[in-house]
Symmetry: C5
């Protein structure tokens, strides 16, 4: 979260239903696009003024209203009035720190989740909150900013690929969720790659930078899991509660999404185990490094301390030291030292230190 | 808990229903404020004598009786008699070490929770127990001392903001709980900040003070969680049990509070993970420090021990040591030492110790 | 468990219903006290012979038969026959290693739990098994030995404090359990104190004694939890199963006990976390100690090894060593050594080792 | 499991119901003993030929057929045909690696569990699979080999102790299970003793042998738990499912067994915690040992390195070294060294290293 | 997963029901074998063209259609049309990264699982996804490639062993699953062996290679568990949901498979505990190695530093050093050194370092 973003706590003390935009303040215009379609018709309207939205509501076609930008509260309020949405619902829409959830109202279903992607530099995960409101034959989507991963759904609509044009708004909702969840697999593969790279790095060397990277991956994974687990529960609850808004044929498709989320949960758990293992490798690497350092010290000290002692002996100034006067005394000392040196080498070789 | 506070165990052996004030003894007067309102009327009475409270009970308006101070047991008893409250309920009100809980009685609901705030120095978390008793059209709140985070609710009442004046006592209760829970996010952000600061500190240096701070944060987080988890369950149980005192419209609002508490639980779990990570960083920092110390020792010892040995050799007093009589013997020894020194430097450079 | 106590396994191979006293063998007499009371009457009979107990059973009053001592199996058997108790029930009464549990029979309820206290030296936890059998208007309690924490209940009975004399045997049972559970808070505070003391000690020094103390506290806490968790479940099951022996008014009181036990469970979990933290502090303290030792060694070695090398140089016996013949050569060497020494000090100061 | 024993995987690819003896191959004869009894009659037949078993089946008495040895598949098959047992049941009987379980068939109940004992040397746990098939008034038990812990039941039968002769086959089954479970407490006490001994050893010294012992205890405990947990569930399921084969009076007794198993589960969890603590003690002991080693090195090096430096100084060969010519120079140097030595001692005393 | 294999994320953005082969691309021909049988008839047809498959569907016999290879999407699609299979089902068939699951459709059941085996070098685990579609009297199996562990089932069919020819397609399905699950025990024994070998290695020496092996085993075990746990749930759900396609007699057999999977889950948990223990052994081995290194250093330093000091003393050049002029001064110094040496040896012997 950036410095300029409002925090959840900034809402404390306000009456419920008060709209407070919790998230990054943006200067761009809120852009509203509408796609109106049925099996025969397909019509796209870009930058529709907010007042005209209600005209789409009771039409004979399926209407997808896509709102890009949450910071203009007047627009949100106006939509709320036109579609008779509950105050708390709108509050959730503009609070971009909310955990994924689903809520059923009398004549619409509210669902919010995170759209995740990998940053251009493949170094960060980009998160954007998307909220959906599913009505009888309309679907409103709220995105934090323009640009999303939903192009494939739009092209299926425009090119009439698959069965999407023949189905209702609930199938459209499913298609959008499915596409977003499919993108989670990119994120999960990003983690697989990152952890594998970290593991390789840790086996080569250990330093504080790598430690910080491990720490960083842990945090990102915690955040990723926070997007998955509540969504899984939300999808599961749509499946179970029999709403007239979601046809039973779509329910079967949602089960597929649910299973993808289950698979993701398991993958995340594996990733957590793997990061813990990488941390173990790191700590063991540190301890290994120390062992190596100690061995160098021990080898040097163990070889030279006795030799220095021998040299010390013959540096003494006693009047009577017969060896000093031997003809080959000096050479004998060198010989003695050579023997000591070789014995030490054998000793270290046995200990596999050399 | 201060030194002068009574402990839970001081109640052992007393008959149930005996009022024992478990908490800090205060010398201040207990202050009772009453707010009486409906959509048209709004009246505040400060420092109301306890005997007059029952006169508010059966009025046509919603009455919020706010009691500041729990140490005067006579007042508590008198209220208990006027509003026909169960003895165990009053016992819970004055026991400020109680965990959050909700209890339904025949014609009132009892709910107790912790009001949390950050101390002025941003170094400590201030906790105060607040108990609510919700009756038909009245709400009694018991606070440990004057001063709270509920001013925003009072101003909404006085300025008739939102729908609060049009709703019943149950909505007032919800508004108060919601405000208190919103304040928990300040505490959770305090933890985010503290842990981030700790992490930065740990990456710079490791010492026992930081260790104690980590320990301290762990304890605070344990306490914070103790305020959240049982409250979440309590709110969930109000929602599920259909009481005549809580209208179904308010239930929907309570679900919102419940979700905030759920979100807080998840945040706390993340914080715990993060503190554990900071501890890991600390331990790894310690081990890193040792590694560094060992490297310094090893470098110095490994360079100078062989050199000292060479010097020792030519300090020997043998009669026949040809090198001693060479013209440039001394210079040659310096040269030899220089070569050894440079070889060592290369060796350490290879090991990336220098 | 002392050396002279029988173990659970000593029962292997005996037919079910065989009474085997598992626990410390005592030489003292089994003492049976009877309190007979109703709202008007209150009569205490001490050291009642076992044969006369049945005479109290069908009386118009509530009868509390308090048996102190389990080692005289004849007495237990005789009671079993007079009150028509199941063989397995009596087996459980005399097996003092049993976990807390409740069992409903056709016309009585059996409940066993641990009465805990702090030893005189505040160093140990004293545990005694207490079993209750609740009949229509009688209650039998079995204690391992004389002396208990129940005096306050007796005085409430004799002085007719509270509502105890107006209620049935079920309320008496509740009062006794409540008093015992209230005493658990003393034990829990004993742990709070012990762990805090350990934490302080560990921050000052680390040695094997402290390690053993930590280990000891862990074991005690494990045992404490073994007394709490099954009791909580037992109390919960009395509440839920609607027995004619326990009135619904008493059930509400039992819920209070249940909540105390829940609170205790949470406190114990916190204590476990804290002990784990103390262990972490200990290990980190050990590692810190090592760091300190290494620094001393490194400082000394790093300062003196180069200096000794310099001294070694000028101890060489080369014919031509110009420095040796300088007028202030010796002083110059001291100067050189001083410079090396100061550089080293600066180096260590920078590393914050000094 | 020995080298000659077949493994579970050796069954892969065979049709279900194929009998494969998974376990140790034995050369001994399979021995079949039959006890036939009711309240009046008691008759033992040893080494009954397998063809005659069916003659016992429809008798007026309770029949316990005890088969010692599972390796003769012909015998097992013959029994299966005489008593009309399901193929999968027989497959389970001869597969001695099976986890404890219970299975209800139309007119018999199948239960398999592990009979555990301590080896003669008190070093190992001996495990034997026992399977029971409970019919209307007959019980078949399959044991891996002769010799068991069930003698006490046989003597209760022969001496008509307790109520066993007056009850049906279900009570006999209960008595056998109860005896086997009672023996588990011996095993649990074996663990208590082993862990306590390990703890004492670890506090005295740490070496790889102790580490291997800790590892060994961990594995044994894992195996022990594998015998307990599924059996507990099995017993619980017999209790709940109301089978005509198990009378409700026996169900109460089985609850007792269930509770013993619950108690064992808790004891095992404590043991696991304790072994983890012993491992902690071990690691801390290792680290303590290192600390001690480092202190010795540091003390020696810190005392002698400065002293050696002083000696080095006065071994230099400068022409002008005034101290060398002082009358008491040599003594002065000794004095200086003494002062350094004492200062060092004070320093170490302060650090509590000496 | 190889480099050439497509990943799960490659499906993002495609309409649901689009067949994308996620897995290794193969160049071999897809081979379809059909076995047609009942109690009397048995007929094998190899390499059947895909168009002729539907002719088998409504026959009087049980038909097992075995498809080897998933990369030819045209064939998959054609089968889907002939047998009226749901689009999502076919999508799952060709996505070989799917977790095991079962799904019931109106007139067929879909089940997918992993067939595991040990590689020829006993170094790796080979995994292949197998999907089954069970119809009224037909069963289709999809395998990734030719070669499987199902030969034993085929021979039981051809040789009319056991009851397999007398039962329906559900029993065939059970037989195939049972055979695959039985093969899991080979994998589990492979882990037992690997972990035991690792444990032995770790007790002998510790190095980074062993660390990587431990890490590798952890990952394999995580993968193995991912094949077991969801399959267990799937089998359990077939058992519970009463489908007309699975006869109740077969359900009992499936319970057997379920129990094998339960047993495998427990074994895997034990393996995880054991790997964690091996990691502990490794770390303790590292620390032990360091201890040993430190002891060598300490012994050498502690013996020779004092001796060198003594030699240093008598290398000083003081004018007045009486010892230097003693007759046996030199010998006395040797004696002194000998005494110091012996004292040191005794000291180390006491510390059990030698």
């Amino acid at each position: 979260m950036g410095k300029s973003s409002k925090k959840q706590s900034s809402k404390a003390g306000l009456p419920p239903g008060t709209l407070v935009h919790v998230g990054k303040k943006r200067s761009t215009q809120v852009k509203i696009n509408v796609i109106d379609y049925n099996a025969e018709v397909y019509e796209v309207s870009e930058s529709v003024p907010v007042q005209e939205l209600s005209s789409f509501q009771n039409a004979d076609t399926i209407t997808w209203i896509d709102i890009n930008g949450l910071h203009d509260l007047e627009i949100i309020k106006s939509i709320g009035e036109q579609f008779e949405l509950h105050g708390l619902l709108l509050e959730d829409v503009v609070n971009t720190t909310h955990r994924p959830k689903v809520e059923e109202y009398d004549d619409h279903i509210y669902l919010t989740l995170k759209m995740l992607g990998i940053g251009a530099s493949r170094k960060s995960i980009i998160s954007e909150q998307v909220s959906f409101i599913l009505g009888d034959n309309w679907l409103i989507s709220f995105q934090e900013r323009e640009g999303d991963v939903l192009e494939s759904v739009r092209s299926r609509l425009s090119e009439n690929k698959g069965i999407i044009r023949k189905q209702g708004a609930d199938y459209l909702l499913y298609s959008l969720i499915d596409t977003i969840v499919d993108n989670y697999f990119f994120v999960s593969e990003y983690f697989s790659d990152s952890i594998e790279k970290l593991e390789e790095k840790v086996l080569i060397e250990t330093n504080t930078l790598i430690l910080q990277e491990i720490q960083q991956q842990k945090k990102l994974l915690l955040n990723f899991r926070k997007s998955i687990t509540p969504l899984r529960e939300a999808i599961s609850s749509i499946q179970k509660e029999e709403s007239v808004l979601v046809k039973s044929s779509t329910t079967r498709y949602l089960r597929d999404v649910y299973e993808h989320l289950l698979q993701l949960t398991e993958i995340i758990e594996s990733h957590r185990d793997l990061i813990a293992s990488v941390m173990d490798l790191y700590l063991s690497g540190e301890s290994n490094k120390m062992n190596k350092t100690m061995q160098v010290l021990t080898i040097i000290a163990t070889i030279f301390i006795p030799l220095t002692f021998v040299a010390g002996i013959y540096g003494m100034n006693f009047d009577e030291m017969p060896e000093l006067h031997w003809k080959y005394g000096y050479q004998a000392v060198w010989g003695l030292m050579g023997v000591i040196f070789i014995l030490m080498l054998i000793f270290f070789r046995r200990k596999k230190w050399l």
